[in-house]
Amino acid sequence: MQIPELAIDVSHLVTHYGSRKILDDISFQARQGEIMVIMGGSGSGKSTLLRHLLGLHQPTSGSIRLLGKDITQLNADQMYDLRKNMGVAFQGGALFNSMTVGENVELPLREHARLDENTMRIMSRMKLEVVNLAGFENLMPAELSGGMIKRAALARAIVMDPRLLFFDEPSAGLDPVVSAELDELILILRDAMNMTIVVVTHELESAFKIADRITVLDQGRILMSDTVTAVRASDNPRIQSLLNRTPRNEAINPDEYMERLTREIF
């Protein structure tokens, strides 16, 4: 199987909802085996960008190359073929409540392949093993905790061994221990399978732990798309406020500082 070096290559992407511009001149790349974290405040366009990467929306202009193919130019059959190489874990898990966990995990196999029932069952159980849900295949989603639902959704996303994995807000609504476990899993998947992984998150700690590169969105534009080290070192005030820390090298104005500390006291 031929794998282009750039697994994701987004170039000058522009998109509108109605007449409102939502994404403006977005360009970034991810190599095969890289973990790209997309960050940004609420409403900055993270989910919109993810939906475009998944081919769920057609942009106004620009190109989105996944595994060497520009998805804005593909027909439905070509997109269907490409989707076999793409796994998606949505924010809420998006499991079907009427199906068991195992049936949920098998779903992409039924959609995309013609395999023996035994093969599908073994494949889904192998992935439940990977996400530490061994033996849970016969439970219903309603019987799972929030963290377990995310892990089941991850098992479903990887059941076809995708080259590209997209993960929307893996840690949202989870306690720190459970979200750290998910971060660990994301790293294991990349290391074992050389998957290219796109994670949308606003959890800074998680982003720094898993990312090779971070793309920071601000009001639909890219503020920065660079390595973790470069993002950490950035002196852009908007990045700094996202990182929620004062730059170490920022000159302190003693009058302003004292005023901030003592306002309404003196």
Binding site: A113, N118, T119, M123, M126, M160, I188, L189
Partner: protein, 106 residues
Amino acid sequence: MDIQIEDRLPFKLVRLSGDVDLHSSPRAREAILNALKLKMPLLVELSAVSYMDSSGVASLVEGYQTARKQGLEFGLVAVAQSAMNVLKLARLDKVFPIYDSLDEII
């Protein structure tokens, strides 16, 4: 994907080559399960496999369990890297008998 079946007494030897993926793995499964019907110990040789996905590994799992149920020896020989990645991810590298080469077992 190509399949070759040989006798390497006391074993039956199934050699897979090329891509063992969603498309081709049903044939690999069938070859392995059919070979086991001969009630001979089975080796699956994978040195010429260029790519193996989870569906291929699932077929190996089903073959191994079928062999175990009948008390037949079963082993993997010269496991290619992509197959090893899938095996390791599910910790199956600690479950299957795995040999580096045929010389090691025959």
